[in-house]
Every structure is written in structure tokens, then in C-alpha cells.
Symmetry: C2
């Protein structure tokens, strides 16, 4: 078989490292033609030594390096696994050249997902989701057409505060929020899990990637993270995807697409649904979330209704609010009001890469102003 | 859109009636061009009055009538929903002409499934499963290739004796066995559910229809019948299908394939997984069956290992054994030994329609001999 040429943007991050793990287990299938990372030049050097044919770039080389790895390496697929907005232009350039992109850059899909889908439709590039929930939906959609889809469902762990009342959450501490049940992840993602904004952002991503209106992207809380997503078809049939909570599965699916790797014994997957033979078996439980208790999730739906750059505003304001909460400058219960305030203050009507960057800046300013006002009030009241 | 021309073999049976219900709800999509039934000529007459353009045949017209409806009505799809072996030749003739067949005739798929798949591969006809479990697998397989499939999983209700020991089952009564938890069905099917031979026959059907070795067709007991089947892929991903236990869903899927009907609000399907909004939610539980307690299921796997006409032998011997049990001539615990005896006595090596018919006859003779021997022994010992 011809080896797939892969360029990895963000090779030293968690997704980048796991992608290289998958790639290195399948040397017959994949070849690394580009590696781009930020400031972790030691690890990048090790990766470059293992993939001597790859073009390598770090933050020192600036945006031109990222652009070169994304567009000048002859890649069949670019894995977009950088954080934030640093790789937006490089990914758009790859898509415009018709190169498939495996999408792990959440800010990109949230802020510019609809734009990216438009560019991909024009160039013929395929957008391959890497997030486990979106990979689940993408897998369930194979072989069907858009007009057959009635709704999609993303599962959510519910996070550490799933059983708390809104009042109990209002003054939750950072330590409380960092106790996450299933996935191991960074501070920002774990706070997002506590507010359920992680799921809100995924709802935005799904609506934009799959072209489904927000009100038909539903969330079900499923605390054991075995099922990752469902597609409800217009004829009443539902398809769902289940897998071990291991990011290498959706990464491998995206990189090998439309093939599938052949590296997991079926008994392992079966154990996830049916338990070990002779054991009591497995139970999968699903519950609907309460948008009153998780107002951040409601704000994500509101951003989808507004369209334009509203998703970018929600994402950026949330970043500022979470950082302020972690720094002790905002109460947990003030995260959603901070985002809501930003959403009310920023003009979100246009949609272009420039408009996204401008909305991001304005949203951060509005969110910081909200945080500062709260801090000033706290000082006065203490 | 062009209307699909449907010929219904077995129009007065349960599947036939539900199919006509689906068809009549979608007059813009379907047109009935043929109706074939057995002795229920009153209902057949009513159906014919509603579908005046259809060619109509009953048991009085003999095999030629079935053949005519299957092959001389210009049908785009033939629904094979007769019981037993009466329509085998007509269905093979339709397949050989390249006509798609929606398969609800279990004996046909069990006894001649592999042969039918060979004929369909030659003619280009599509075989569309109607059974809910096989429809589930078929839906999960869309967009993937055979070599990506590691295993398939059929769910089972477990039947009325799921929690009983083998000793408790040995002398179970007919009344015990007729208390089935989820689906409402006839006496034969309900006894098959108690022995789990219903699932054994479905394992045989799935292995033959989808070309998967028996040891990779697994069964999970799932007593609430929300999930109907799973496909485990070689990369560790699992797709599953869920739907309300309503046969009109898989019937509609098979008839509309590759389209999907658009007649079910997504909230109904969502309620099946996530419960009503604000309600406590839904739980799906899965357990592996114990082949020691359900030896009929083990015999189905044995039939797949033997191949040839062994599936036909198991199906025919099971019919005789169940009838004998219902008539009081066999103990519940003797059903599996009766089938096993027949499987040991019949030459199962060849596979052709003639060999299937011969194996069916020999299996019934061997099973009846087993029943008679038990009856004679009971008389001696009483």
C-alpha cells in the first residue's frame, strides 16, 4: 500500500505525541513529512531524529514555518493539533490546496468551523474530526446523506459538578473543579468540564462541521464515557459509536480515513460493551443535562443561533473567564455571566478570518472588563 | 421521486401486514405491484382492493403464483415474508434476475443464506435484512468494507429463562416459556426465545448474510431491546444501532434503502436513549450469555462450523423439537439433545437448494425418531 504522508502541526502537544505514537506503530501505512511545534524544542528534536525525512519547524521560525509544513511538504493529510489561533492561516492554506485536514484544534473549529467547511467544499479537502465525540458522529454518518439526519447527540461526562445544585456551584473552588471523573486533561479543559462549556464548544463544533442546526445537536450525560455520540435518522433509527476512552482511536481513524487500522483485538472492544465473559456485564446510562444549572452550555446554543463570529466570542470570553476563575479573580458562578456579557457587547455579524480575529480581541476585552468590574466590587465590599 | 415497486410475498402475515402499513403511509414512495399470501383470502382480498394495480396470488394458485409475483411484476424490491420453505424458488428466481430482496423469511436465510449471497453476488441483487438485529448490523456496516469488520454483536432479550439454572430449565412448562419480556410474538418464536435458539438462528443468518465467521458473531443479552446490534471494527471502534422495538422501522429501512423514510420525530428516538427531558434517564445493560445453560445457542455455532446444510438441519430439527415440546412429547431440556442428535445423523456436506430440501427432510425424520424414542422410554418408565 502507498504510505500516507502526514504533517503534524503541534507535534509536542498531547494530541501530537499520541498521533506520532499511532503513526510509529504503523510504519507501513504512514510517513511523517512535517513536524511543527512551539517552544518544546528538546522533544521536537527527538521527534525530528525519529523522522529524518520530515521538514521541522518551531515557534522560532514564526508563522512561515507552520505555513511551510502545512503546504510545502506534499502532505496527504495535515493534523491540526496546535492550541489557539496560531495555525489558522496555515490550516486554511492547506484546505485551499485540497489537502485533507485532521482537526484537533478546537479554537479553529469553534471560531472558524463554518468558514473552514465552506473552503473545504470549494477545494474538495476532507475535514476529519479528531475529538472523540465528533469522530463518533463522523463514523455514524458514513454511508448516509445530510438530509437523512434528524439530530445528532454528543455524550458528556457531566464533569465534577453534575450532581450539584446551581447554588452549590456558585462558589465552587478550583480544587473542586479539578476532580474530573474519567478523562485526564489540563486545567482549562477540566474547568470547562465543570461548567460544561467543553460540551457547549463541542456542540458548536458539531453544528458547524456537520451542517446541523444547533437545536438538533443534543447532549446526553453519560458518565462512563463508553459511548461518544449518536446520530438520529429521520426514520427513527439511531446509530451510536462506542470505544475505550483512548484518544489514539479517533486519531487513528482520522489519519487512516477512509481506511481503518487493524490493530485492536475485537475482544477488547467487546469487553467495553459486554464485560468479560462470565462477568456481570456492562451498563450504559444516559441523562439529559439541565441548562439552568449549566448556563455555559445554554450560551453555546445562543452563539449558534446568532451565528457569524458569536462562537468565536463565546470561546474567547470563556478562556478569559476560566483564567480569571483559576487566578481567584472570578467566582465559579460568574464564568457564564462573564461570557454572556461579552456576547452582548461584541458585533458578531460578519464572518471571515479577519472578523474572527477582531471578534476574539473584542471578546477578550469585554470579558476582562467584566472581570475587572467584579474585582473592583469585591474590593469595595470587603 | 420515482416510486419504488414492491412485491410482497406473505402479505397477510405479521411482517407482510406491517410492511403494507409502512407502504400505505408513503404513497409518494412506494407502489405495491404484487401480493402473495397463503390461505387468508379474506384479508388478501382487502389488501388487493387497496392495491388494485397489484398482481395477487394465494396458496390456491400454487408455486407458479408466487413465482409470478416475484418475477413478473416488474418489482424493484421483493419482500420475502413467507414462513417456511414455500417461497425459496421464487426468491432465488427474483435474486437471479437482479431484483433486490428484503429478507424476512428466516428459514430461507438460515438454510440457504450462503447460497443466496452467492446468487446475489452474481446477479447484483441486494439482500436487505428485515430482522431488527440484522438491520442493525446492516446499518452499522454502511460506508465500510468487509475487511474493516473484526466482529459483529447481536443483542438478545435473554428470554423468559435468562436467570434460571440449567436444572431449573430442564422441566420448564410451555406456560413458563410463553412469558416473554419484550416482544410480542408467536408460540414457536417464544419457545425459541426461551432456548435462545432464536438467537442461534440469527447468529447463523448474520454469519451467512454478512460473510463473517461464526466465532466472530457474538451475542450480548440486553433485556430492554433498545440496542439491536453492534459492529466491532479492526481499529477498536464500535458502531451500534438503537431503535424502538417496532418492526416497521427495519421494514421501512429495507424497503426505502438506500434512502431513509422521514416519518419519525427525533425527540421520539432520543427518548429511547436519553429518557424524557428532566426524567432520570435511560440505562442500557449488556451481559454475555452462558452457552452451558443455553446449549441450543452452542448448536447454532456448531452448525456454522460444519457449514453445508448443517444450518438447515438445526433449523428443521428445532422446529420438530419445539412442536414436540409444545405437544407434551418432549421435555424442555430435551430440545437441544434432539437437535444435536439430528445434526449427528444427517449428511450435511453438500450445499444446493436440492441438498437443503433433502437435509430438511432427513433432519425432521431424525428429530421425530428422537422424540418417539423418548416417548417410548417415558411409557416404559411410567
Amino acid at each position: 500500500m502507498t504510505r500516507k504522508r502526514v504533517a503534524v502541526l503541534g507535534s509536542t502537544g498531547s494530541i501530537g505525541r499520541q498521533a506520532l505514537d499511532v503513526i510509529e506503530r504503523h510504519p507501513e501505512r504512514f510517513e511523517v513529512v512535517g513536524l511543527a511545534a512551539g517552544r518544546n524544542v528538546v522533544l521536537l528534536g527527538e521527534q525530528a531524529a525519529r523522522h529524518r525525512q520530515a521538514v521541522v519547524t518551531s515557534a522560532e521560525d514564526g508563522p512561515a514555518g507552520l505555513m511551510r509544513v502545512a503546504t510545502q511538504t506534499g502532505a496527504d493529510v495535515v493534523l491540526a493539533a496546535t492550541d489557539g489561533a496560531v495555525a489558522f492561516e496555515a490550516v486554511f492554506a492547506a484546505v485551499d490546496r485540497g489537502t485533507d485536514v485532521a482537526l484537533a484544534n478546537k479554537e479553529l473549529i469553534v471560531a472558524a468551523g463554518r468558514l473552514l467547511v465552506e473552503h473545504a467544499a470549494r477545494s474538495g479537502a476532507r475535514l476529519l474530526p479528531v475529538d472523540s465525540e465528533h469522530s463518533a458522529i463522523f463514523q455514524c454518518l458514513q454511508g448516509s446523506t445530510r438530509d437523512q439526519v434528524a439530530a445528532i447527540v454528543l455524550t458528556a461526562s457531566g464533569g465534577p459538578f453534575w450532581t450539584r445544585t446551581r447554588e452549590e456551584m456558585a462558589d465552587a473552588t478550583v480544587a473542586d473543579a479539578l476532580a474530573h471523573p474519567t478523562w485526564s486533561m489540563g486545567v482549562k479543559n477540566t474547568i470547562d468540564s465543570a461548567t460544561m462549556m467543553n460540551k457547549g464548544l463541542e456542540v458548536i463544533e458539531a453544528a458547524q462541521l456537520f451542517g446541523i442546526p444547533g437545536e438538533r445537536v443534543q447532549v446526553l450525560v453519560h458518565r462512563t464515557s463508553v459511548a461518544h455520540g449518536f446520530v438520529v435518522f429521520t426514520d427513527g433509527n439511531v446509530l451510536g459509536q462506542l470505544a475505550a476512552p483512548d484518544m489514539r482511536l479517533p486519531i487513528g481513524y482520522a489519519l487512516a480515513y477512509p481506511d481503518r487500522l487493524a490493530d485492536r483485538p475485537f475482544e477488547d472492544a467487546l469487553a467495553a460493551i459486554g464485560g468479560e465473559r462470565g462477568a456481570p456485564g456492562t451498563t450504559l446510562a444516559f441523562e439529559r443535562p439541565d441548562l439552568e444549572r449549566f448556563p455555559s452550555l445554554a450560551l453555546a446554543y445562543e452563539a449558534l443561533r446568532r451565528g457569524g463570529t458569536a462562537p468565536a466570542v463565546v470561546s474567547a470570553a470563556n478562556e478569559v473567564a476560566v483564567a480569571a476563575f483559576v487566578a481567584g479573580a472570578l467566582r465559579f458562578g460568574e464564568i457564564a455571566p462573564c461570557i454572556e456579557t461579552a456576547l452582548g457587547r461584541v458585533d458578531t455579524r460578519d464572518l471571515s478570518l479577519e472578523a474572527v480575529r477582531a471578534a476574539d480581541r473584542s471578546a477578550r476585552e469585554a470579558a476582562r472588563a467584566f472581570v475587572d468590574a467584579r474585582a473592583a466590587r469585591s474590593v469595595r465590599s470587603s
